[in-house]
């Protein structure tokens, strides 16, 4: 049955029941009047004031009919509209990760069933284009690796070749460095494509996050020495999480490196690791130029490199934070970017706490 027919049917049913109630009271009143006329004559019949009779009909027949209409109507409408609610609930759970699963159809051929079919078709096409984009990146990065190897090897041979003039050697070396940079970007893209496809959760074990944070502090102390940045480890409680040790080290190093690169001379970096009830929280805060508010929502975007006027001085591909975020997500955690009131930049990593 189509939705329109069902609603019309419910509407007609409510109306009919109300009509029956009103009709019953009218019949009762008329009967009473007739009996009064038959037994008491016209005088008795005249006692019945038509106005009072009408009010009586309205009060005793109309009001219950109205109440029935309101209560019954709303119940029936609720029933008629329930499929819409059910469908909405299912649609609300649609995310990029479950595009392959179609919304279940009622199969009764009504408007909602048709809409579900249309939505499923749309979902399928959207899923296909997502997959296509992912596979494209994955294939492109794989296909680029062989030519890059050849390019690298050929340039290496040219440098080592005694016949290459010294003046050319300098230029070839700088080409070689660019090839290496390109190889790095290709590797990062392959990593992100893999993360998008949900293929990151390779190994899971209990990781002592506090040890990784201490290692990070050691590396950061050296990395930031040239800029004379002060590294402060505020708190480093023993925290254990379940995850991939290598990926978590990568994540921490990206955050640390980010805090050094976007800092200024004589600046500071503070780190803190806390174990909460259900979550482990790692915070890294750095001084340095704060990102303008309009650019903040884009920090995790791929190839985003902050203020274009600064980007020339800051090395990097602009993929670091996207990689960090995808590692956090693959560990069922989150990464949040904030600019604090004192203009310091803070990144907060939250991971589900593991067993101690």
């Amino acid at each position: 049955m189509t939705l329109r027919r069902r609603i019309s049917f419910y509407y007609a049913a409510t109306l009919s029941v109300s009509l029956v109630i009103v009709a019953f009271w009218s019949w009762f009143e008329f009967n009473e009047q007739r009996d009064a006329a038959l037994h008491g004559g016209a005088e008795a019949a005249m006692k019945h004031n038509p106005l009072v009779e009408t009010v009586e009909i309205i009060l005793l027949g109309g009001l219950p009919a109205l109440l029935l209409g309101i209560i019954g109507g709303s119940l029936l409408m609720q029933r008629a509209l329930r499929p819409i609610e059910e469908l909405t609930e299912v649609l609300e759970t649609t995310t990029a990760s479950n595009l392959a699963e179609p919304v279940p159809r009622s199969g009764n051929g009504d408007e909602l069933d048709r809409m579900t079919a249309v939505f499923n078709g749309m979902k399928e096409r959207l899923g296909a284009s997502f997959t296509q984009a992912r596979e494209f990146t994955l294939h492109a990065s794989h296909e680029l690796k062989t030519p890059l190897t050849i390019l690298h090897g050929t340039l290496e041979q040219m440098i080592e070749d005694g016949a290459t003039p010294i003046t050319h050697r300098e230029r070839i070396t700088s080409m070689l460095e660019e090839v290496q940079r390109l190889s790095g970007i290709v590797g990062q893209l392959a990593f992100l494509a893999k993360a998008d496809a949900g293929l990151l959760d390779s190994s899971r074990s209990t990781v002592a996050l506090h040890e990784l944070v201490r290692d990070l502090v050691e590396d950061l102390t050296l990395l930031s020495a040239a800029q004379n940045i002060t590294i402060t480890l505020h708190d480093c409680q023993p925290v254990h999480v379940t995850g991939d040790r290598m990926r978590l080290r990568q994540l921490l190093l990206i955050l640390g490196d980010n805090a050094v690169k976007h800092n200024h001379k004589n600046g500071g970096i503070t780190l803190a690791l806390h174990q909460g009830e259900a979550h482990a929280t790692f915070r890294i805060t750095n001084t340095g130029p704060a990102l303008p508010p309009e650019l903040r929502p884009r920090v995790f975007d791929r190839f985003f490199r902050g203020d274009p006027s600064h980007s020339s001085t800051v090395e990097g591909s602009g993929l670091g934070l996207s990689i960090a975020e995808s590692i956090a997500k693959s560990h069922h955690g989150s990464l949040v970017f904030q600019v604090l009131e004192d203009t310091r930049t803070q990144l907060t990593l939250t991971l589900p706490a593991g067993q101690k």
């Binding site: 080592e160 190889s183 990568q250």
Partner: protein
């Protein structure tokens, strides 16, 4: 030294062959897995370079079969898929080393040399160059008889440079052996550590032993 290259991409194969010939290796070349296996079983090669994606028989299956036949010829796998699982799969199949593409020829040569050395099975416990000595067991480092304090990462870095015996060590190899990272950290971590190591080892002494080879990496050797 005779190397068998099993690689289906003709350009990569030609490049590998020419780089190895330059280093005075004898080189043979095949383009598919099946003939690679036959040749490896029939011939007497010192080392095999095997691509993973090959026609007729994959590189993994080649190595597995070779090992089942009882051959212990060292094998380096080459693959465009540099992921950890692939690496583990390759090593599980019986390969001795795994080099993800894109790689540098200098990197391949360094791995080849270390593999051949490992095969000889002789490892000195105290490494030395000029008046610098490094004890692998105790990590004690001395220059001109004077003891130098190194952090654990600095010692690993020095050991890694020593092991290359004067060859160039790429940043990627340093990252792998000192930090055990399987990813490109995208930082100048290696350069910073090398600078620090250089300060401790070379600053008050001559000749300078740690050389920067631009575009390649670092080497521990006397200035040529």
């Amino acid at each position: 030294m005779h190397v068998l290259i099993v690689e289906d991409d003709p350009k990569t194969a030609a490049l590998l062959a020419s780089a190895l010939r330059q280093e005075e290796f004898e080189v043979s070349n095949v383009a598919d897995g099946e003939s690679g296996l036959q040749l490896a079983l029939a011939g007497n090669f010192d080392v095999l370079l095997v691509d993973i994606m090959l026609p007729k028989r994959t590189g993994l299956s080649l190595v597995r079969e070779l090992r089942q036949q009882g051959r212990t010829t060292p094998v380096i796998m080459l693959s465009a898929r540099g992921e950890v699982e692939q690496r583990v799969e390759g090593l599980n199949a019986g390969a001795d080393d795994y080099l993800p593409k894109p790689f540098a020829m200098s990197e391949l040569l360094a791995r080849l040399r270390s593999l051949l050395r490992r095969n000889v099975g002789h490892k000195p416990t105290v490494l030395g160059l000029a008046d610098l000595t490094y004890d692998v067991g105790t990590r004690e480092t001395r220059r001109a008889g004077k003891r130098i304090e190194l952090s654990s990462r600095e010692s690993l870095l020095l050991e890694c440079l020593f092991r290359a015996e004067g060859g160039v060590v790429s940043r990627r190899d340093i990252i792998t052996s000192v930090w055990e990272y399987d990813f490109d950290p995208g930082t100048n971590l290696v350069d910073v550590y090398v600078r620090r190591l250089r300060e401790k080892i070379d600053r008050d002494h001559s000749p300078a032993l740690i050389q920067t080879v631009r575009g390649f990496g670092y080497a521990l050797r006397l200035q040529p």
